[in-house]
Amino acid sequence: MADEEETNEYRWESGYEKTWEAIKEDDDGLLESNVAEIVARAKRKRAALKATGAIQLGMMRHLFVVIDASECMFLQDLKPTRFLCVLKLLELFVHEFFDLNPISQLGILTTKVKRCVEVAALAGNQKKHIEALQQMKDTSCEGEPSLQNSLERAMNGLKNMPAHSSREVLVLFGSLTTCDPGDIQKTIKSLKENNIRVSIIGLAAEVRICREIAKRTGGTYNVLLDDHHLKELILNQVQPPAVAGSMEASLVKMGFPGGKTGSGDGASDSAADHAPAYCLCHIENETSCLMGNNSGYNCPQCGSRYCELPVECKQCGLTLVSAPHLARSYHHLFPIKPFIERTEVPEMTHCFACAKPFGELDPNVYECENCKQIVCLDCDLFIRETLHTCPGCASDPITAQMKTN
Amino acid sequence: MVNATEGVLVECADAAMKQLLLHLDEKLPPDKKFILHDLDETHVFIASKHLEFLQSEIDCFMDSVSFPLAEKD
């Protein structure tokens, strides 16, 4: 049995947070400037936390998203219905997920009428997932969900995945009940054995078994407050979790198609390269696409052609990616150090990054520790949250080259 | 023998509107009737001198079928 003691108390048990005391009026009796500052500060704090966090990330993730499609998902406490709201948010999630976890794989399951159905297989191409989600909008929600069936199904899909990858399940659970064929404790046990992390987001009220599953498998359990909160909860799952101790690390062989193949590798190769060919991703469909000799990507190992990346070569099993796919997540590896807040640097009249002249509106400026350049608050946030590169360091011949090794 | 009549051609947005005109015309005493010719589904030909009267009639009708959308206080 799970132990009942909880480390963090419920919100209503904790003391009052006197949020209103943080708000101060400015000289004109307005709050606006203050509010903006509080927001900016909060953002900085969060970004700073992230920057100092774990460096090792399990970036090869295999994740099954389980969507509850039982009767209760037609309730309209989320607009327009729970189901449509969740689908909409998941589209955003899929997009962000692949943005941040370029070589990860995602699968989608739904559960209704006591069964579990696979909607999208575990794969690395977001287009298909988005399509599947959009098609689901027209399907109906009926019957009762089955938590156990869903978890078993996800487990079957995940347990064959390589040991070096992180295996995860995310359940969006609207029902307060589940109709299971057997003992769910056994399922929890085998989930744990297989290193599968289950995170659950509840759409109604807290359900004890959900909390237990999440806790035992190392995942998170949260219940939404409103649709904004739900969005936040779902998007929290985009960040790769810190590596669990038992995960093995390994070097994975990967192909990077798109080089000048056939340039001196012998005649046979170049002949295959220039002939129009069907791509292998669509060969099983009726709408196979014939490609000219310039489009498409060839597997550098066996020469099969694909019309989009990333893909796992059907002939030789090599994972084919493009360099930018990997590079998209490099900023996790080389986070930039938070800039230091300075109250006044009189000799600098302009923000180094955006060339904005400093005025009286900028009480604080920010300095990079490495290159000693000064930037404004807005640039500081932009650099930290989006750019992930210090323009000052990149403009200095010495610091510019310290990255990558 | 070809006949020429001066007047105003009225093009109605839809057939229902023309029926409204016919209806208005029907209720009037003979000396006030304004429709000279009923041309087709959406067109009628009317006498110029009744145009102003017709427009105010239509306005009255429109007023009677609309209701206030906004509350004033």
């Binding site: - | 006949n3 001066e6 051609l9 009225v10 110029s48 004033k72």
Partner: protein
């Protein structure tokens, strides 16, 4: 009896230029500022074409020019060719070997190139060499410009707490048909066009007003080309910079005084020797389409002040009696506070406006134009229900389309009917016809012509 709705026709720069005679156009291009202004208003693709041949000193064959666009844009190219020919920016020429080609107007080329790289004709407006001891800030200029301009508008809406405007301005207002003297009445009163004018955004108003002014330029002994050239130069001047009046001739000096009255330029004293262009002037070349006034400068008082809610309520954060008067044109005002007016849009109030000749589109675009900056944070700026409802109220009035005409019926034969119908159609006199029952309506003006033709025809027929 005219039964058609008329909207105020505010020409953009190009349509105005097209109305000018060719010789005037050619002389206009003698100035870099005009070339620049004309160039900026061209569609993007034509600008690209001009850039491409700007440095080519000879005609370029049509075949080559045609190959620059992708096949599905060929239609667009035709439109461009038409436009550029009409504006006399380029001409069709016969090249060696009988090839057809296009040649950029040499004056236009030289001056556009001059504006870009230097080396063309001189600008006649020069910054003052010595600094103004009493230089004016941009805020002062803005205030002055808006103050002067609103003076004209105030006069139009008839709020008389402001100073009167000059006889020149009166004349233009009358000439433009924005105001008129009713017979037997000494006062000027605002016309339908005037109401529409009031709802246009400021830069469009200025442009329309200037067009009317230029119309009367010759009667004031002003040279149209000088004035236009000067206006375009003004529009490319720098805000807050003072310019010297030394090099200006008498005509332009006079013109400058008029512009000063309307707030396009600021001058402390008539004989000061320097003047400052204001934001109103900088907007001219952009024509009525896009204004810098409403949007670029957040601190200026010209920013939006109207919030419209879906419950038909209009909140106008303003203390200007002019702005209140404008809103009252189509709103029922219910509360009034020192800096806020609350009104409500009702069917009656909109119909009242429509009867005055204001169109639904004008109301909608006015509300959008002056929407409070907060409204932009969550588009749509104007709730679509409101925009739609205003248009519906307008359409409701247009359920019937009235056209004056003469009805022909009781034709003896199909042939007779067709002859007469074809005759009327060819001359554009036919309003409506039906084969079913052989009826046709011709315009009132065309009635005589058609009747005469018919008489001739039937006489011939009977012979």
């Amino acid at each position: 009896m005219s039964v058609q709705q008329r909207t105020l026709d505010c020409k953009d720069l190009h349509s105005y230029l097209k109305t000018l005679p060719a010789a005037v156009l050619d002389r206009l291009y003698n100035h870099p500022a005009t070339c620049l202004a004309v160039f900026r208003e061209l569609p993007e693709l034509s600008r690209i074409y001009i850039m491409r041949i700007l440095f080519v000193d000879q005609a370029v064959p049509k075949a080559i020019m045609g190959s620059w666009v992708s096949p599905n844009s060929a239609r667009e190219l035709e439109d461009i060719v038409k436009l550029l020919t009409e504006l006399r920016v380029w001409q069709e020429v016969e090249m060696q070997g009988g090839l057809k080609g296009w040649l950029l107007n040499p004056t236009f080329r030289r001056n556009l190139k001059g504006a870009l790289l230097g080396g063309g004709n001189e600008w006649s407006m020069k910054p003052n060499t010595d600094a103004d001891p009493k230089a004016r800030g941009i805020a002062v200029l803005d205030e002055y410009a808006m103050g002067r301009w609103e003076c004209v508008l105030h006069f139009m809406v008839g709020s008389h707490q402001h100073e009167a405007i000059s006889s020149d301005a009166l004349q233009i207002l009358q000439h433009a048909g924005l105001m008129k003297k009713e017979p037997g009445d000494n006062q000027l009163s605002i016309t339908k066009d005037g109401f529409q004018f009031l709802l246009m955004d400021t830069s469009a108003q200025v442009w329309y007003f200037l067009l009317q002014y230029l119309d009367t330029a010759n009667s004031r002994n002003l040279d149209l080309i000088d004035c236009l050239g000067f206006l375009f130069q003004l529009s490319f001047s720098t805000l807050g910079q003072d310019y010297s009046t030394d090099s200006m001739n008498d005509g332009l000096q006079k013109f400058l005084q008029h512009l000063r009255e309307f707030g396009l330029v600021y001058q402390r004293k008539r004989k000061d020797g320097r003047f400052y262009p204001t934001r109103l002037a900088l907007d001219i070349a952009a024509g009525p389409k896009k204004s810098m006034l409403n949007s670029l400068n957040a601190s200026s008082q010209a920013t939006g002040y109207i919030v419209v809610e879906t419950n038909y309520r209009v909140y106008a954060y303003t203390d200007s009696s002019l702005q209140v008067a404008l809103i009252a044109l189509f709103c029922e005002l219910i509360y009034r506070f020192p800096n806020l007016v609350v009104g409500i849009i009702t069917r009656e109030s909109v119909r009242e406006a429509l009867k005055r000749g204001i169109t639904a589109d004008q109301i909608v675009s006015f509300l959008r134009q002056h929407a409070h900056s907060e409204c932009y944070k969550e588009p749509p700026v104007l709730p679509s229900t409101i925009a739609d409802q205003i248009k519906l109220w307008a359409i409701e009035r247009d359920r019937f389309l009235y056209k004056d005409g003469v009805l022909y019926n009781q034709f003896d034969s199909q042939a007779d009917f067709e002859i007469l119908r074809n005759y009327a159609q060819e001359r554009g006199l036919l309003v409506w016809h039906t084969l079913n029952g052989r009826k046709m309506v011709v315009t009132k003006e065309g009635h005589d012509e058609v009747r005469k033709f018919w008489k001739r025809h039937s006489r011939n027929g009977s012979m």
